[in-house]
Amino acid sequence: MIVELGHFALVLALVLSLVQSVLPVTGALKGDNRLMAVAPPVSVMLFLLVGLSFAALTMAYVTSDFSVVNVWENSHSTKPLIYKISGVWGNHEGSVLLWVLILVFFGALVGAFGSNIPAPLRSATLSVQAWITAGFLLFILATSNPFARIAQAPIEGNDLNPILQDIGLAIHPPLLYVGYVGFSITFSFAVAALMLGRIDAAWARWVRPWTLLAWVFLTLGISMGSYWAYYELGWGGWWFWDPVENASLMPWLAGTALLHSALVMEKREALKVWTILLAIFTFSLSLLGTFLVRSGVLTSVHAFATDPARGIFILVLLCLFIGGSLTLYAWRAPMLKQGGLFAPISREGSLVLNNLFLTAATVAVFVGTLYPLALDIVTGEKISVGAPFFNLTFGPILVPLLMAIPFGPVLAWKRGDLLAASQRLYAAFGIALAACLFCFWLWGMKMVLAPLGVGLAVWVMVGAAAEILGRIRLRDVGLARGISRLTGLPGSVWGTAIAHFGVGVTLLGIVTASAFQVEQIRTMKPQDIVSLEGFDMTFEGAVPRKGPNYTEEVAHFTVRQGGVEIARLDPSKRVYTARQMPTTEAAILTLGVSQLYLSLGESRGDGAVDVRVYYKPLITLIWIGCVIMAFGGLVSIADRRLRVGAPKPARKSKAAAPAAQPAE
């Protein structure tokens, strides 16, 4: 009964989304307030209906209702409760339902809290959001119904893919989806603004918090996905340049560019045409990612049951939304007036540079991800584009960007002074250089890239701190005034500095973990000792153990440092009973921010096991840096100036320098 109710709520949501698709936007174009007033309540109702539907499916999972095909295929009565709940989105149908839930959630947020946005823009935005909603609801109901029943209910389910039976499944997909799908609202704002023909600094101000919100969650989602793959797959890698990972990285890169260009639009009314295009591109890349992951063109742990009809359906949606929005853009964008002028050396100039490099990086990832697919379709030739390609393209593109990061915030708007900016960064540069030289001294000349990488990371981190210190001018005003100035700095300044600092932290982790990882592979008998970086690990023997829905062989290790026992590690090999599928559970010992990583190979039968041990210096900084970046984004959202209802009109300044060039 509840299941049918969930299905019915979904159908009702489709009908409502069709209403929402038409009425508010008509009202916005004709200036009819009654039609526009439809949008906010309907956006909330849509959320409630899809939420009800999602709750119904969750209920079916929790009660192990195997008369529902989806539950039967992906659940098991002995599965722990947390995995029954997270298993709702651990399959194709459920994950698309979660996708739509977040889509309508963002619509409802704008409907409920967007009262500072002018009614026409808000109504048109909610209509565009409803077009996407309708498209995907139709997709669910036509090809991926999670509520389909089986006539004769089986007694037991097929269980969830064991790799997904992990707390990571409860965290990673919802975070990632909030980010991924969150960019839909920026897209809707852009399309609505194009239809209404009103695009100005205020638009950027309304849109930026939503973009930031999506970006924060996407950052967290990607980094949690990376950490999950790192500890669950047992290979000890944190990024594989897998197409599925790239699918989430592309919207992140484009979204990061969007955040920065929207800043120029908000402050200076420049880069309008480009910002709107980026907003369209960012969500298009999210849609592309959804297509790649959900259509089954890629083989991966993310591709659940594949069905060509679904792939074609998403492809049609993809073409409609991307093609439609770009056509609208081509038609309307030339009507936009150019905004403020600025010199190449200026805050705007640095943000353009940022956009340039981020876009180039996105293109590199895009080519590397789609070229194999295109080549396969055209010539039938199978190739793989892996880490070497991305290291050679993505790396060099990002290095100049990273070097430029500290300059951006210290340059003035309109026309900056590179010399003055450099003066403010002397100290930061000195510290980075010292760090670099220290590393050369420490490790010798055999590695050139690692010390340079460390220097770059320190430069980015100290540069971010220098920006804050520069703002309070500690030396001029004294400590007491300095501290009071520190707390008085706007949230967006703090947010920028914190996020940039996080970039440096992540970079430091990447450099050290890649350059100085130590690894050993050994076949060990009980009481054998493997030594690595001053740690002695004794294999104490393996014992079988039984979990709720698996059996495992646990190997006990004692870790000693200088003869003193510091920890016990218990990596294991599991076999999940329902699917008879083996998995490897690595054991990880975190020492400060570094990690000792132990994973098992096949057991040899005579009590010996293959063991792979890594020491990964500073590796956790990779993810800590991402969390810092996301925190910076949150601080920036909390900035009062973004929340204040009536936006201040952008100061009109026609005093462009003679050397200034048009922004675009």
Binding site: P344, L356, F389, I521, T583, E602, D610
Partner: protein, 136 residues
């Protein structure tokens, strides 16, 4: 500024093209390796089925096995921990180079697989050889 933008984009495109030329790895079946005479020094992905009874494990995770598409067979050595789903008679994709002695030295054995435990590329290569027994 437009000049600088152009320079950056040109450099990026150049990098991408260079990397595409140089850094991509082609997928080959054992028959391809034998017929095309792929020699040492060329990095490839070799995919097929792990031949029954061919897996020999030595100490410190050295392992040798044969990859076959039933027409031809290539011997592979690998040092490292094999993926959980590596089994005799099942599909596998390995990445590496053919050594001077004709044995394929893999530095990566891939665990990616679909629900039938056969990588997509392998399934298609087997179909080409006419030995695919799967349902699609």
């Amino acid at each position: 500024m437009i000049g600088a933008a152009g320079a950056v984009l040109a450099a990026a495109v150049g990098l991408i093209l260079y990397a595409l030329n140089d850094q991509i790895v082609f997928f080959q079946s054992p028959t391809d390796v034998v017929e095309k005479g792929i020699g040492p020094g060329q990095r490839i992905r070799l995919g097929g089925l792990v031949e029954e009874g061919s897996v020999v494990r030595a100490d410190d995770a050295h392992v040798t096995f044969s990859v076959t598409d039933t027409s031809n067979t290539v011997k592979v050595t690998y040092t490292g921990i094999l993926p959980d789903l590596f089994r005799e008679g099942q599909g596998v994709v390995t990445e590496g180079m053919v050594g001077p002695d004709g044995v394929f030295v893999a530095d990566n054995v891939l665990a990616k697989h679909d629900e039938n435990y056969v990588p997509k590329e392998v399934a298609e290569a087997l179909k080409k050889q006419g030995v695919w027994k799967g349902d699609n």
